[in-house]
Amino acid sequence: MSGMSKIVRTISSIVFPLIIIYGLYIISHGHLTPGGGFQGGAVVASGCAMILVAYGSIWTINKMKEKNLSLLESIGAICFILLAFFGLGFGAVFFNNFLVGSNFLFGTIPYFGSTIADINTGGVVPLMNFAVGIKVIAGLFAIVLVMAHASSTKEGKK
């Protein structure tokens, strides 16, 4: 897939950081405002897809090999399942939210009813949000990248 004109490239490189920040906001505030790992990851992946369309798949593949992407995705997945295993370790049951109520990271419990958004709540949920966010960003971008690259290189028909 060949890249687009100069204007589109400059505009997309200006807008790209804004999309990244917005996506990371959705991921990090998943347990307070509507959103979470999947939705935020999809926003950031759409930003990356925009860069892919603007600069073309050959340029993007040189910048970000799909092996690194699948490595990043495996790391995100491993963090997620390890958080679940920690639940088994500390909270005595698989997938237990062991950080709630402990004064460790993200420990405080919000009092009932309408509250102001205090980010230090939610126990394991924000950590899982980050893990799933990384995984969705790397995963969706890898899918878009591989399909764009495959349809562009004219591999001979067997």
Partner: protein, 119 residues
């Protein structure tokens, strides 16, 4: 009270999608049909979880005066629909990459022609 209009929309979506899958021979139209069925079932899941003039079940800056359990829509169908949408994306990505490969190998997208052809 708009009676059952959302559920009628759900069955319409599913039937159109099913029509596309059964009667259309072009592979990409089949995939579009499956996506239609997918969105129909997701719409059905979401509309099951709605309560009369209720608010989203989020407690940050909750509008004052909402009675907590009755004034909020159900959270579980929304979580199920999130999972179902991501499954839809995954299946769609896999089907489209298989179609790219089939087109590259057979040169046609007509299901009956591919079925008839040998290697």
């Amino acid at each position: 009270m708009i009676f059952n209009i959302p559920f009628i929309a759900v069955s319409a979506l599913i039937l159109i999608g099913l029509y596309a899958v059964i009667f259309r021979r072009n592979l990409i139209k089949m995939v579009i049909g499956i996506t239609l069925i997918e969105s129909g079932v997701n719409l059905f899941l979401i509309t099951l979880g709605y309560r009369e003039n209720s608010v989203a079940p989020i407690f940050t800056n909750l509008p004052s005066g909402t009675i907590v359990p009755e004034g909020m829509s159900f959270p579980v169908p929304q979580a199920l629909t999130l999972t179902s949408i991501v499954i839809g994306v995954a299946v769609l990505a896999l089907m489209l990459s298989l179609i790219i490969h089939i087109y590259r190998h057979y040169g046609t997208l007509d299901a009956r022609e591919i079925g008839g052809r040998e290697e």
